[in-house]
Chain length 414, copies 4
Amino acid sequence: MSEINKLKILNDPVYGFISITNPLVYDLIQHTYFQRLRRISQMGMSYLVYPGAHHTRFHHALGCMHIMQKTIQVLKFKGVAITEDEENALCIAILLHDIGHGPFSHAMEHSIVENVNHEAISLFFMNKLNAEFDGKLSLAIQIFKGEYHRKFMLQLISSQLDMDRMDYLKRDSFYSGVAEGNINSERLLQMMNVKDDVLVIEEKGIYSVEKFLVARRLMYWQAYLHKTSVAAELVLTKILKRAKELTQRGITLPCSAALQFFMQQKINFEDFNNDVLQTFSRLDDFDIISAIKDWQYHDDFVLSELSRMIIDRDLPKIRLSSEKPKKVVTKELKAKLATLYPITEKEASYFVLKGEIKNQAYNKTGEPIHIVRKDGTVEEVAAASDQLNLNALSKPVTKYYLCFPKVLLEKAGI
Amino acid sequence: MSEINKLKILNDPVYGFISITNPLVYDLIQHTYFQRLRRISQMGMSYLVYPGAHHTRFHHALGCMHIMQKTIQVLKFKGVAITEDEENALCIAILLHDIGHGPFSHAMEHSIVENVNHEAISLFFMNKLNAEFDGKLSLAIQIFKGEYHRKFMLQLISSQLDMDRMDYLKRDSFYSGVAEGNINSERLLQMMNVKDDVLVIEEKGIYSVEKFLVARRLMYWQAYLHKTSVAAELVLTKILKRAKELTQRGITLPCSAALQFFMQQKINFEDFNNDVLQTFSRLDDFDIISAIKDWQYHDDFVLSELSRMIIDRDLPKIRLSSEKPKKVVTKELKAKLATLYPITEKEASYFVLKGEIKNQAYNKTGEPIHIVRKDGTVEEVAAASDQLNLNALSKPVTKYYLCFPKVLLEKAGI
Amino acid sequence: MSEINKLKILNDPVYGFISITNPLVYDLIQHTYFQRLRRISQMGMSYLVYPGAHHTRFHHALGCMHIMQKTIQVLKFKGVAITEDEENALCIAILLHDIGHGPFSHAMEHSIVENVNHEAISLFFMNKLNAEFDGKLSLAIQIFKGEYHRKFMLQLISSQLDMDRMDYLKRDSFYSGVAEGNINSERLLQMMNVKDDVLVIEEKGIYSVEKFLVARRLMYWQAYLHKTSVAAELVLTKILKRAKELTQRGITLPCSAALQFFMQQKINFEDFNNDVLQTFSRLDDFDIISAIKDWQYHDDFVLSELSRMIIDRDLPKIRLSSEKPKKVVTKELKAKLATLYPITEKEASYFVLKGEIKNQAYNKTGEPIHIVRKDGTVEEVAAASDQLNLNALSKPVTKYYLCFPKVLLEKAGI
Amino acid sequence: MSEINKLKILNDPVYGFISITNPLVYDLIQHTYFQRLRRISQMGMSYLVYPGAHHTRFHHALGCMHIMQKTIQVLKFKGVAITEDEENALCIAILLHDIGHGPFSHAMEHSIVENVNHEAISLFFMNKLNAEFDGKLSLAIQIFKGEYHRKFMLQLISSQLDMDRMDYLKRDSFYSGVAEGNINSERLLQMMNVKDDVLVIEEKGIYSVEKFLVARRLMYWQAYLHKTSVAAELVLTKILKRAKELTQRGITLPCSAALQFFMQQKINFEDFNNDVLQTFSRLDDFDIISAIKDWQYHDDFVLSELSRMIIDRDLPKIRLSSEKPKKVVTKELKAKLATLYPITEKEASYFVLKGEIKNQAYNKTGEPIHIVRKDGTVEEVAAASDQLNLNALSKPVTKYYLCFPKVLLEKAGI
């Protein structure tokens, strides 16, 4: 395929069009590692609450690249020097920043790939691709690892106002229909600038930043931490935990070879060699959901009942509260459940679940958002704001959940 | 669950909100048969061209029900008598009209379930559900079968301007980002009325009808019959054909039990008993894609190569033309391919494909769209229009394709 | 015109369609008093900042009626009893709630009609119309005056979450393109209910309320109190003040008879008889702008220079600060200006302006927004919220401005 | 003001943001000639049908410039050489292409400025501005006059697929809410290219062209030629004709000096000197509507009754037909009207009106739209299309109207 034919335009309902302006980017997108992201849902189990939320990490990664291109244009228009090599590296780094995600990451990281986070896996993939593409990804990797001398470039990829957040809020809001999360990413990026190698927002953009943080907070409580999504995620985690337990007891569960591998092995960071990476690269939503569809009919009651809950969307009840549920309550619920289901009290722990969910819309410490005044002074955004609102948004909120099968609602009368 | 709690509101990015206004509708949606539609993509393989097109038949069915509700409101406002029972039946009929779809229907109907169309299977499901719900679906079924005395009700469910088309054009356009297909369904339904038991559009809506038909035509050529989608669909059909062939030669391919069943059996209309229906109800996109992921590594070159094409989106070249490709051309291509691939010339037929695609935006004969004048006279829309445009739209367009692996492009130099 | 022909559907880019479902509403809209609202801009001088903001009070009033209809539907669906008479009265009351607005109200109320607010004038119009329409507006007037026994009905018309605010935020955001103000009014009204005759929002709508209040605050600072709009508004106020002053000195300025009348008279509440009302009803944006166009060429420097500033959009400089500008500064600026312009130091007060702008997104006291918990308890929204955010939003913010001609910038070097 | 501060970003609800990327463009926008376009409505009297249609020629001109910028970017990306000077000239030419429009052009050109079209006046303005700006507009003027050697540049400004049409269809559709006219201008311009100095559309854009032409046709019949708009336009034309007639009889009507001037003079092309241009530049919607408001109370029945019809939106009845109304019918209607109104039969011609409206969506002759095939061949679009549709769209449609006061409906019983 000729290089010129690799400059493509893709339809995107969110931004209208996404352009591929570089042949290497085209080749990376075509790579089997990247195509795999087509089969990984961006919002995990959220489609059980918002039926439109079936968009993929593939689409999100393209969207991130698109707004990276726009942001680079804006910064260059304002006189920030960015070379063509840096531009390409930034696009590649953001395109690949999430390539290490597995299916239903949140549940996976709590049950299957316990000791390696997705950023580390992204880096494994990038290094592998760099070898395949003769070192052409080196600068992208340097930026991604924070080793490049121009620090604002990392902030474009990973900070509290990075391209990742700007795309996922807008995209998740669009596909789920949770209008509260819709942000004006185009306006935000028009306000960006670089001052002393720090990514800053121009003063008049302070209300857009506030809107962005509020939108993010609302998306957390209405979508990412929606109680039904949380319940589904919990059930999924428990399914994978049970499956792993049964596998390690020697029971072979029907599932794909790749999933089988990760249920049999305990993979640590140092084990993540090329073979493991290759097997990991075969894993996507289809492995997980197909297995669960099958496990509905398994003899193990815990496994089959949890699996059925997902497939038939017959999810457990979940209650949120500002206080931790009492131990005595969960103990009683488990005891009761052991009389209703063919399970032991210990196995009841797969069904009666407690824990916490937490969100902080904005974190003033660490890597805060900066505002630049007309006179050139730079200030942290909450300090620069004319009222308490941004401070209020930086207070973390914690909620405690108690999750249990609906049968307890009817029979135990809670 | 109490009846009042079944009256739910769902977010929908297309219409804002969809209301469930009837407990029976809630129960049908919760049923495992209907939940299965969550796992069947509405646009099949189109996401390989339009990365946003991952919406499901589940969502489409809800959308149809929503605009059915709106249309009923409009008709009642205009004085058309519709009883509460009829209203519920119409909502149920449209909700379930596509429940018989299998995964990737188009490919399936050419390779796996060859002799039973999805409308027939929808009816099997409806009858089964009617038995489970004590006959409460009887009126819906009567309307769906065209046996109810009020004929316009069937036209709301199945005609050239039915709720199905009004939702899928709008929804497919929304999720794919093909703005050309966006129709103003709200305006169209505001123009609907019933005259002598026939569904009609008021005269001033004639331009909206024209826009609708043009939008439909554009969606066919830009999305449903987009050449890359057609190529993907063809490859999928050939995969399933090959898999069935190998299975019937006695080779057991790894795949789900449900898919296995349909590869081993030849199911005719009369065989479609409750067991078959039950097995069919377990089949969804996950069975197909998971199998194809696995078959990439199969020994059979035809099966593995075709499978890889889908998974890596490394699709064959496809050329459209207004003339049929010559037999001699395909013959030569197959011969050449047999020298490049480890396959026989006969097996080359799995890779070198020809055929036709066809679309007619509007069909004046049969069940045409009717316009009602202010004086009450009713006319077929193309006749009522002030110019040739609608006549032009009723002329079918046929294009011929020739599809072959890219390797031929490079090696055979075509 | 027959009654049935008065049931119309209007296109509205904001909601899609607005229906007139009652012949009396149709007649009120057709009335010359209401048609006059077509000639009164909703956002005053804001089009000088946001060129799309030319929508009218006419359109806003229709929009309010539309969401009133929707809200009534929702409340009735939830079991709140609302009679047909009450429904019509609510629609009429909201349709007419702003009919007393004059052109550029804010400037007018500070210069021309100094002692009568627009709500009072709305009531004069309603009473006049009630007489014309044989008392058919009596219930609407009762509700509007807060004299009807069902208190929640007034809250729909006038409170911190009324139909007025829900329409104007959405509409102003739409036409100006200030996306930050876009609210999800449909979602908000889906959450409304009535508890013990108080309008309440269901618990799960608390994030939507927060989003609404944040959006309102952002619209204030980015649109209504945008510093350029404020400057234009100030200039307009001074033009009218100067014109009145000159008129009262006996100089006849060219302008319409209606405007002439209000410049010559000082109208108090008790003077507002039918003749005054009739004259007032002839006043709209065209009287003001046409006069200003003419006054550009007047001999009086103050009048002509201020007028030119508006017509050529050559607005003065305005600076916002959290502290009051010092008296000595304005004094100096005036002195300097008197040397640059052919005016006295006293007349310089028409050009060097200071004052304050203020906004409080939410007022916890008075008529707060109420949340109803699932258990039926009702709480004020800031108290019900899980974090400080809503409290932060209830803190008023004040900014001080200093406004002066650009010539001072260049010549006086400030 | 420093040059850098002239690079502004404006909010636009249609495109998100419009950038001013050149200080000269900023100065032109600030000029009193251009600011005047803020006071000229883009869609004339259409707001009487579509209450949102209050957007201005100012906004449209900015929108045109915006998509010109985008198109230039696309063409340059595809390798079309465009110098910076040409780029600026194209932006200026499109920005100013409509600057010669008077208020309610259509009515004006039939009654006040009878012998000079708005393109000619645009050129007078451009030449005047060129003198003021030291010849910096020379290249823009050359392109505008079709005298520049690169012919495709004129096609960007004036052809069947120019920036003007692309903006006005989208913008008029947006503000009026007539969704049928919404076009995907971004997609269209992505498809543009230049071949042998001719503006062409790439083959795959053929459906977008068709959609564009259908949208244009629908906007004509649903908005620009909507029968109520036509009626309002006719009444306005007759008001101005009557006013001119009375003025020339020596009666001084109250109105602005600028309007007075054009009612007293008959201006020909050769009379259009700087003084006339200066007076013309003071004329906008406010002159016309303010005069009409006043004329409602004039002694002349014809003038006052026609004026009242506009102000109270009490428009005459209009009937469309595919056949010309018979002379005898209009004669009878006039005779009858003379018995109902205090007017002569001759004066009745101001109220009983007939004529035709006409639209051709696409004109194959003259300056057609061209498609470029993948192999580089260029073809006229209707010839290149795969079906009759585009031919159908090139057939002109004519409708005949008969317009008369409603009183005839009731009294004469027609």
